[in-house]
């Protein structure tokens, strides 16, 4: 009995395959002829597969209710109308994106502090070599420099009135810093202001101070060696008139 059961177990998979519709091989057919329980199992499995197939077939043979297709046609016609309305109104979904992008740009521009946009960043370069002003740029044509010159202050005019010491010196090598903008630490501001005021009274010496070393060398070779050595003591030797007023208790020499 146990041996027979083990034999049936061996045919189990083949039995299910056969019930599912696979062809029955000779060995299984021989076993089925001899084994009644396996024949019953095969019948039961075949019924199960038939029930599955019938249920699926019944379900998949259903038809939609009357008017289903006409409803779909109506829906499509509505879709077409909607598309036409969009086209006639000229509306394009991309416009919404473009509008949103423009709005975002406006928000960014408004929110950004204008001061930052206007002020160029202060770098070491800008402190050491101040930028050339528009009206001082030798490369700018005379016709364009007119309007810039018009807006100059009298002080600028006075400094600009200094003629080049050596007419043979190329124009491009003229000092570019006749009105320099220098950042000075707060504790040195007073001393620097004093220095500038003294130098400003001696335009020729001021030219020498702000002239690059190479120009000074050129100037020296042209016989103006007094500008090469600029001693601060020389500047202080002849105090200005207003200094005498302010430094009342100080010895002039």
């Amino acid at each position: 009995m146990i041996g027979e059961k083990m034999t049936c177990e061996k045919y189990k998979d083949a039995l299910i395959d056969a019930a599912a519709g696979e062809p029955i091989d000779r060995r299984l057919a021989d076993h089925l002829e001899r084994c009644t329980p396996c024949r019953a199992t095969l019948t039961h499995e075949q019924d199960l597969f038939t029930a599955i197939d019938d249920a699926l077939r019944a379900r998949m043979s259903e038809t939609p209710r009357a008017g289903f297709l006409s409803r779909v046609h109506t829906q499509i016609a509505y879709e077409v109308q909607k598309q036409d309305a969009h086209e006639q109104s000229g509306w394009n979904p991309m416009w919404a994106w473009a509008g949103a992008a423009a709005l975002a740009l406006v928000v960014v521009v408004i929110a950004h502090p204008w001061g930052r946009l206007r002020q160029p960043p202060v770098t070491a370069e800008s402190v050491k070599a101040p930028a050339l002003r528009a009206h001082e740029n030798p490369a700018m044509p005379q016709s364009m420099r007119g309007s810039a010159e018009h807006s100059r202050t009298p002080r600028h005019a006075r400094l600009d009135s200094v003629q080049p010491l050596h007419p043979e010196t190329p124009v491009a090598k003229q000092p570019a810093t006749v009105d320099p903008e220098v950042l000075v630490p707060p504790d040195e501001a007073k001393a620097f202001a004093l220095f500038v005021a003294r130098v400003a009274g001696r335009d020729e010496r001021a030219q020498a101070v702000v002239r690059p070393a190479s120009d000074n060398a050129t100037a020296g070779s042209a016989g103006t060696s007094e500008f090469l050595t600029l001693d601060m003591a020389d500047l202080q030797r002849e105090p200005l008139q207003w200094e005498a007023w302010t430094d009342e208790g100080r010895d002039p020499e």
């Binding site: 199960l48 029930a51 259903e62 038809t63 297709l69 499509i76 077409v80």
Partner: protein, 185 residues
């Protein structure tokens, strides 16, 4: 020297007319295909969904989506397969959301009356179990099972619809039925 631009006032109108004619032809072609594929879409949806009304809604939505994307379909001869796939996907989504909704409602229900044996028999217990068993099948097996169960669909036609070899359809169908039987046994 100034450039001279040639302006042709009739050109825009011509282009619009050509576009309109193309759209009309496309729409006519789609509607012709719809007449023969409408029932197919419904049946695919019905194979996945329990309710026939839900299946109609899904089939309608699938056909609308197909209409919107129809100009982009390169191989028009594959329209049926394309529509089947759209419908099947939509039906699966609908079934999943329905199941989630059902679970929520079951959780919140105070007292759900338990069905008696007679009720189960009357409501088709076998159908219900088959439904559950099918939900556990992989999508590939499920689609083959549904399409093969449709009237007039041979294995070759199913293979053509799914763009797979006939042998693949046969093996998938065999596995699908065996797994269903295993669940229902």
């Amino acid at each position: 020297m100034q450039e001279v631009a040639l302006i042709r006032p009739g050109r825009t109108t011509d282009t619009e007319l050509v576009l309109e004619l193309e759209q009309t032809a496309l729409r006519r072609e789609f509607e012709e295909r719809l007449a023969e594929c409408g029932t197919l879409a419904f049946r695919v949806a019905r194979g996945v969904l329990r309710d026939a009304a839900d299946a109609e809604d899904v089939a309608q939505e699938a056909m609308l989506q197909a209409y919107r994307r129809f100009p982009r379909l390169r191989d028009r001869s594959r329209f049926r397969a394309w529509l089947v796939r759209i419908t099947f996907r939509l039906a699966l989504d609908q079934a999943r959301s329905a199941r989630r909704r059902e679970q929520r409602e079951t959780l919140w229900a105070v007292a759900v009356p338990r069905p008696t044996a007679e009720d189960l028999a009357a409501s088709g217990e076998f159908e219900r179990r088959l439904e559950l068993a099918m939900e556990t099948l992989p999508e590939k097996l499920r689609l083959v099972l549904l399409l093969s169960a449709m009237d007039g669909h041979s294995l070759e036609e199913v293979a053509e619809l799914l763009h797979v070899p006939v042998g693949t359809v046969k093996s998938r169908l065999h596995f699908a039925r065996k797994r269903l039987a295993e669940k229902l046994r």
